[in-house]
Amino acid sequence: MRRGTTKEKTTKLLKEFRAKVPEMTIRTTLIVGYPGETEEDFQTLKDWVKEMRFERLGCFTYSHEENTHAYNLEDDVPEEVKMKRANEIMEIQSQISWELNEAKIGQEFKVVIDRKEGNYFVGRTEFDSPDVDNEVLIDASKTYLKTGEFTKVKVIEAEDFDLYGLVVD
């Protein structure tokens, strides 16, 4: 892929990140269905995703783009296989994300309130970027919060990707 790195080097780098900044939430994005990707390659990717346990993960299906280097290769993984592989990766990730979220129940986090949606104030921790990452939902019938402000929240419930919380005084 001409990324200037290898599986081994990336694994080593990620382990270094985790060792130096243990609290770090890592987000990454994968491509499935790159030209020539075999079932065996895909299995390697799945195993790696399970091993790395990324806190946040996205997955693209390969798109064959003219004037790129890979355009010289044959786009030989069928679209439905690409989709299936992307879904499989996201299923694995849902489980990992749920486990990591479950572990947060009872913990307190500084949360910024981005907006109010229906009966919830929607916030984020420092481990979440807007639009792409997890959100913290706070029951708006029990608490009034100002959007744009920080507040301290205790996590009371976890889903695959989102958390529910109560404001801590």
Partner: protein, 254 residues
């Protein structure tokens, strides 16, 4: 006596694709406002500017459909003019001009001054960091570089965004200060490749130094890092992350 009504143009900017495009739309809107134009983001306006994405198939399709949607509105007389800018038109301008010729004009990613001219505004170079942000007021994107020197086989971005060009630290600090004055508490650092920051301008990877300067900006509580390519990642960034509570313990690695 006849009275003449002069209809005032309202420019509606529509943004597709990634946060880098959001940023570019905000710069465009800031420039338009500075020229006294009435400008809105994804609302109603009789002049439409579509900032397109040309990254992968789905995104290109969405951009083309959006152009077609506004062409229908133009034909129905609901809008007067439609301009197209951004990555799709940078990459496919000749094709688009042929396939959808009724668009008033197409612009590439480096043609902000000409786009402004077509909209009756002047490009003002001195407006560093004067953006009209479209995100909730507590956070804003800060684009620290444009373009990408990585040769990744699958990626079309360098075709549309050119070579890596870092924005100087002092300009970014000025921009961050202005954002903070307007109530922004969280800066989300973006570029095609954050890791490469500084190599062109300072002859060294300089993300850590930039972060050291940005944490001094009053009013900013969180600084978040996106798009940090793994190859050549400057490990001193981790020291700053550990030392400075304002730097979120967060890293997005493409």
């Amino acid at each position: 006596m006849r009275t003449k009504t002069i209809k005032k143009n309202r420019i509606n900017v529509v943004t597709l694709g990634c946060s880098k495009n959001v940023y570019d739309s905000e710069v465009l809107m800031g420039q338009l406002k500075a020229s006294g134009k009435d400008v809105v983001h994804e609302q109603e306006g009789n002049v439409v500017v579509i900032n397109t994405c040309g990254f992968i198939n789905n995104a290109k399709e969405e951009s083309v459909n959006t152009i077609l949607h506004y062409m229908q509105k133009k034909e129905a007389g609901d809008v007067d003019k439609v301009f197209v800018t951004g990555c799709l038109s940078e990459r496919y301008k000749p094709d688009l001009e042929k396939e959808i010729p009724n668009v008033d004009q197409y612009f590439g990613t480096t043609e902000l001054p000409s786009l402004l001219k077509a909209l009756g505004a002047d490009y003002k170079h001195e407006l560093i960091g004067e953006r009209l942000t479209t995100t909730p007021k507590n956070y804003a994107y800060l684009k620290i570089a444009e373009g990408c020197d990585r040769p990744c086989s699958f990626c079309a971005i360098p075709l549309m965004r050119g070579k890596h060009k870092s924005t100087p630290i002092e300009d970014l600090v000025t921009e961050a200060e202005k954002l903070a004055v307007n109530g922004v508490k969280e800066l989300i650092l973006i570029a095609q490749d954050l890791t490469y920051y500084g190599l062109d301008l300072y002859k060294k990877r300089n993300l850590a130094e930039l972060l050291e300067q940005l944490v001094k900006v009053e009013g900013i509580d969180w600084i978040r890092l996106h798009y940090a390519f793994p190859t050549g990642f400057p490990m001193d960034v981790l020291d700053v992350m550990n030392r400075e509570p304002k730097i979120c313990n967060y890293l997005d690695i493409p």
